[in-house]
């Protein structure tokens, strides 16, 4: 009887320690999860800011200005235009 009790005591102690460990681990993992979630939020914010930046750079007025002033591009006039119609289409 005493032996069984002793065995149970050992098992109990092991369980108790296991509980402590798992609690500790759970908190640590949770902490990591929190950090990752925070990081994902941060990245979301950064994504928004980058989108903002992208659309600021790509504003049509700016593209047009650069195309015209720096690259000297312009809309072709009538003499330089030729319309290709799909074959068989009425002229």
């Amino acid at each position: 009887m005493a032996r069984v009790n002793l065995l149970l005591l050992v098992v109990l102690a092991a369980c108790a320690l296991g509980l402590v460990t798992s609690q500790h681990l759970s908190r640590r993992y949770f902490g990591e999860l929190e950090q990752e979630q925070e990081r994902s939020r941060q990245l979301g914010v950064e994504y928004g800011q980058l989108q903002l930046e992208a659309s600021t750079w790509a504003v049509h007025a700016r593209v047009e200005r650069i195309a015209g002033r720096q690259l000297h591009m312009r809309v072709p006039d009538a003499k330089h235009l030729h319309i290709a119609r799909p074959e068989g289409a009425a002229k």
């Binding site: 949770f30 992208a54 049509h60 009538a78 119609r85």
Partner: protein, 576 residues
């Protein structure tokens, strides 16, 4: 020695004293026990709450306001987190150096900061709102006790003044105040959530207890707007307003198939990212909230009605000599005297006398119905805040002269959006479509208000307006057939028509063989000498229409020949 016999110990106390003490202690113990049972067993909420407050916290989960995108997914408005710095007056005492550093970071005079921090009349004071996260970090690094930061959102509009009137803006609390931001507030706004967590002594979250409310990010909103066409419309309008020294101007571009608003530009405008010095004139969304007397752009509707009821045919001839018409004492004039014009020519040359004569032969009720049918006098239903419906007075109160002037667009008021929508009736074979601010995926169901035959007859007349003998040769576009109508109207001032103030307009669609877009242009008070719709508004129309058709890859339906224009000043003059 017998201790028992000691006289000292022979003191006899009354029995009640020890009993009293015993009962007293037992009662006291009982009371304590009862209290303990009460607190921990029966009524334990309070203590549990106290205990929890030591480690559990409710934290807010922020939610983003949705983005506003153009039809091709280009971002027009984005929210991004910023910080606000606040304090409780009397609790923050920055040192001299800290104060000057803080003032430099916040770009505020130190005296102003001191004044706010000392404002004892308030419990809470913002030092500055909406500062960038970088600046906020440097403020936090100063470690000034009693100074706190809050996370808030700021809305940015990358395209600035180009789309300002469509988008509107949000206030400091990210709540829509104008335009689309206000109209779609419900959909765009995020709902912040909250959750309960357990924190350890270092302030780190160690356990999630429960989610009280899930955060809900605001939905993205895809507008019907096309950023390319919008930019084109805005830049052309801006140039035209400057060139004509006009007071204001507006442009509307509609997709005829879907009723979508592809562009809406107003000038003057404002930069929604910096709204420090805003005047009412800059904020006005003229194309939607302002109405004006449209002038000759209404003639096609009178003519359409005459064709519809079978009173006239496009080739019917109307005598307009001697170029004036007297109706109950008032005289209607034409800019150029002609003897007789066909109905089609009346539109082409924009004859007031002709239009008035046609109108006087029509029943007032039918005219009124036609105006109502094409959407005048009713809110166009775009969904903008403050949309104007214009004014069409009930036909019972019309006098003959009023009926005559209404035929050429006086005595009636419409907004530019209404005008553009009404023209889509001609372009769509007599169907009036509902308009949409947001992108639509299924073609909308229109309402038939005119016979297809009538609409196509009017289309043919409108095409004549832009040829050499019409009032708007400058509305021509190389490669496309264009149909449209000019309008030049005197402005009303203090109840009378001002002799030198005009509203010039042009509304038209293209390609005429299979219309795709309606473009309406309105220039308010051009004062650089020219004021006819054909010379002021039509060139703007042509530029915008040509660019928009190219942007949308619409196949040309006209000859690819350079456009021949009559010499400046020799166009057919429109009657005003």
């Amino acid at each position: 020695m017998n201790f028992a016999a000691s006289p000292v110990l022979e003191l006899t106390l009354p029995v009640w004293r020890s009993r009293f003490l015993l009962y007293f202690l037992v009662t006291g113990f009982g009371l304590l026990l009862g209290r303990a049972v009460y607190l921990q067993g029966l009524n334990n909420d309070f203590l549990q709450a106290k205990g929890e407050s030591r480690y559990s916290r409710v934290i807010e989960i922020p939610a983003n306001r949705g983005r506003i995108l153009d039809r091709n997914g280009e971002a027009l408005a984005i929210s991004t987190p910023v910080k606000s710095v606040w304090s409780i007056p009397g609790e923050a005492h920055p040192g001299k150096r800290q104060l000057s550093q803080l003032a430099a970071l916040l770009e505020m005079p130190p005296a102003e900061i001191e004044k706010r921090l000392a404002d004892s009349g308030r419990d809470f004071v913002f030092l500055k709102r909406q500062i960038s996260p970088e600046v906020a970090e440097r403020v936090a690094a100063l470690h000034i006790p009693g100074l706190f930061q809050n996370r808030e959102y700021r809305r940015y509009y990358p395209s600035g003044d180009v789309v300002a009137h469509v988008l509107g803006f949000t206030g400091a609390d990210d709540i829509g105040q104008e335009g689309v931001e206000l109209a779609f507030q419900e959909r765009l706004a995020g709902k912040a959530g909250s959750r309960r967590v357990i924190k350890d002594r270092l302030g780190q979250t160690v356990e999630d207890v429960e989610s009280i409310k899930a955060a809900q990010d605001g939905g993205d909103l895809t507008l019907a707007l096309d950023a390319r066409i919008q930019n084109l419309a805005f830049s052309q309008l801006k140039a035209a307003v400057a060139q004509n020294k006009a007071k204001a101007g507006a442009v509307v571009v509609l997709d005829i198939d879907s009723g979508e608003l592809l562009a809406l530009a107003n000038f003057p405008t404002y930069n929604p990212n910096n709204r420090n010095k805003l005047a009412g004139a800059q904020l006005r969304n003229r194309a939607v909230t302002d109405t004006f007397e449209p002038g000759s752009t209404l003639k096609p509707f009178t003519v359409a009605l005459a064709l519809e009821v079978g009173r006239l045919r496009p080739e019917s001839v109307i005598q307009i000599a001697p170029g004036t018409l007297s109706v109950s004492g008032a005289t209607i004039r034409d800019a150029h005297a002609e003897r007789a014009l066909t109905v089609a020519q009346i539109i082409q040359k924009s004859s007031n006398v002709g239009a008035a004569k046609i109108a006087l032969g029509l029943p007032a009720e039918a005219m009124w119905e036609m105006f109502r049918d094409v959407g005048f006098g009713e809110i166009p239903g775009l969904g903008f805040p403050g949309e104007a419906g214009g004014k069409v007075r009930p036909y019972r109160s019309w006098k003959p002269i009023e009926q005559a002037t209404m035929s050429y667009g006086h005595g009636i008021s419409v907004s530019l959006v209404q005008l553009a929508r009404a023209y889509s009736v001609f372009a769509r074979d007599g169907e009036l479509v509902p308009l949409s601010l947001v992108r639509v995926d299924a073609p909308p169901v229109g309402r038939h208000v005119m016979a297809p035959k009538t609409a196509s007859a009017v289309r043919a007349m409108l095409e004549m307006v832009v040829n050499r003998d019409g009032t708007a040769p400058r509305a021509q576009i190389m490669g496309y057939r264009v149909a449209g109508k000019t309008g030049t109207a005197h402005k009303q001032e203090n109840g009378a028509y001002a002799p030198d103030k005009y509203v010039s307009s042009f509304v038209g669609f293209a390609p005429a063989s299979h219309p795709r877009l309606v473009v309406a242009v309105m220039i308010d008070e051009p004062s650089a000498g020219r004021y006819y719709g054909g010379t002021v508004a039509a060139p703007v129309f042509a530029q915008i229409m040509a660019g928009a058709l190219r942007a949308l890859d619409v196949a040309p339906d006209g000859p690819m020949q350079p456009i021949e224009l009559p010499p400046e000043g020799q166009e057919v003059k429109e009657s005003v």
